[in-house]
């Protein structure tokens, strides 16, 4: 099992590296969030009331905490979409491209291939998290927070934690892409994840809901008990098992 799992991971990593999809999504996530964050901060600095309203409790927060809060606010929604699309592509493309037939009758089990896909996805998400944190650090230093708010630098750690937790929460998209046999069902599931998270956040019961807790914590750390973040892995674990089962039981009957 372990040798063939390594093989499956190597194959999936080769596909992900060769594809423009994963690199493009990473660039869009990091570049898009950076540009939007700087735009919001500049808008807030000029006193734009609409932007100040969107920033909510972050409007009066400056320095690293303000920057990280704004980045977290954008990442919480935009990140789910980006990671959901990435997972939908990784799983759904095998059906859309017809390559799924070639994944039968192999000594590598299909459940192993599914877990390898999730592993490569996780490694990619960690890379995106580190890259985004590095870019935000550069933005913060460029804005002068290195000297004006040197003690606030530790706030940056919230970014990679939020990105990785957000990526983990998108695993249901992989399962839906599998049972729906394509990219679109996975993307549809991603939209549903965003809507659910928004609804829970709006009605204010999100701090113990895994889908919402990381975003609330990253935007306003004091409002969410850190223990609630430990519930987040339950989502990828449950849906990772469902994914492996779905691939194991897969039939080409549609």
């Amino acid at each position: 099992m372990s040798a063939l799992f390594g093989t499956a991971v190597a194959v999936e990593a080769q596909k992900a590296l060769a594809s423009r999809v994963m690199i493009s999504i990473a660039a869009l996530v990091v570049g898009g969030i950076a540009v939007l964050s700087v735009g919001m901060l500049l808008g807030a600095a000029t006193g734009d009331e609409q932007i100040l309203a969107k920033m909510g409790p972050l409007a009066g927060v400056g320095g690293w905490a303000g920057l990280v809060g704004v980045v977290a606010q954008i990442t919480a929604a935009g990140g789910v979409v980006a990671f959901g699309v990435a997972l939908s592509w990784m799983f759904g493309r095998e059906f859309a491209d017809g390559t799924v037939g070639g994944l039968f009758a192999l000594p590598v089990r299909r459940s192993t291939i599914a877990l390898a896909k999730l592993t490569v996805y996780f490694m990619w998400a960690v890379g995106v998290a580190i890259l985004l944190a590095a870019v935000v650090a550069v933005i913060g230093l460029a804005l002068g927070y290195g000297s004006t708010d040197a003690t606030g630098l530790g706030e940056l750690v919230r970014i990679p934690v939020l990105v990785v937790l957000t990526a983990l929460l998108c695993v249901p998209a992989a399962w839906v892409a599998t049972i729906g046999r394509g990219l679109l069902p996975g993307i549809g599931a991603t939209v549903v994840l965003v809507v659910i998270a928004q609804v829970f956040a709006v009605i204010g019961i999100g701090e113990w809901v895994p889908l919402v807790a990381p975003a609330l914590w990253a935007i306003t750390p004091d409002a969410v008990p850190v223990a609630s973040l430990f519930l987040v892995p339950s989502v990828p674990l449950a849906f990772g098992v469902l994914c492996a089962l779905a691939w194991s039981r897969l039939q080409l009957d549609r």
Binding site: L4, T7, A8, A10, V11, Q14, K15, A18, S19, R20, D97, G98, T99, G101, G102, L103, F104, A105, L106, P107, V108, R109, Q251, L252, D253
Partner: protein, 245 residues
């Protein structure tokens, strides 16, 4: 003395779909070194039969054994000795020809050190050198099919299952495939191949089974003179007989 173990042994296999399509109880065997062709019209059940053999569909009744091992208790390692191409080739658009072959070799259990050599041999055998560094997304359908066939055969499987393998191939590709299958059969592989083209299968097949409406209705003699006539006569007789049955 016990009977020799068949490369493939299908008994009473059933998988039915709504509307009456599917496979309704087919027996089929392939001995080591034998090329067994199945022929039939579109929708006869050839692809469904192959999918059942390869575990892509689960049967409602009947059994499939490969090298004497029943599929439902077969270890995953059994599949290392099987090569298949049913419908789409295992070729990822973002990888070039050689990388696709290396990926296929590795998924068939070939170690990292040897996968490159295996792919290079397949590139030579299927005359793919010009396309080795071309992304699959830029390959013609025929060359994509060649990559898929090379991926299915390069690990020297003991059982080969190919559905309409000459689809999109040019005449040179058809000859390369024919020679590749004859070489593997001579080395002891069992080969199951489906086709619409009777002349083509008659050139290499040891046995030809006619499939109609999800059942095996008879055999054609590969050395026969007018295969087409015999084929349609068999279908016609079966179609007349079936509603009364």
């Amino acid at each position: 003395m016990s009977a020799p173990v068949q490369r493939l042994d299908v008994r009473g296999i059933v998988r039915e779909f709504s509307g009456g399509a599917g496979v309704h109880g087919i027996d089929l065997a392939i001995a080591p070194g034998e090329i067994h062709a199945i022929v039939g019209l579109n929708g006869a059940g050839k692809t469904t039969l192959m999918r059942l053999v390869l575990g892509m569909l689960r049967p409602e009744a009947g059994t499939v054994s490969i090298d004497g091992v029943h599929l439902h208790d077969a270890p995953a390692a059994l599949w290392a000795g099987v090569g298949q191409l049913v419908e789409h080739p295992l070729a990822y658009a973002e990888l070039d020809g050689r990388s696709n072959l290396v990926v296929a070799a590795r998924l068939h259990g070939i170690g990292r050190r040897h996968a490159g050599e295996v792919a290079d041999r397949a590139i030579a055998e299927f005359d793919l050198a010009r396309y080795a560094e071309v992304r699959a997304s830029r390959l013609s359908l025929g060359n994509l099919q060649r990559v898929g066939l090379a991926a299915a055969l390069q690990h020297e499987p003991r059982l080969v299952v190919l559905d309409e393998p000459t689809n999109a191939l040019d005449p040179a590709g058809v000859i390369l495939l024919r020679e590749a299958l004859l070489r593997r059969a001579a080395a002891g592989a069992g080969i199951l191949v489906s086709s619409h083209h009777l002349d083509e299968v008659a050139r290499i097949a040891d046995r030809i089974t006619v499939i109609n409406a999800g059942r095996a209705i008879g055999a054609l003699d590969p050395a026969g003179i007018d295969l087409e006539r015999a084929f349609f006569a068999m279908l016609h007789a079966d179609d007349l007989e079936r509603p009364a049955a």
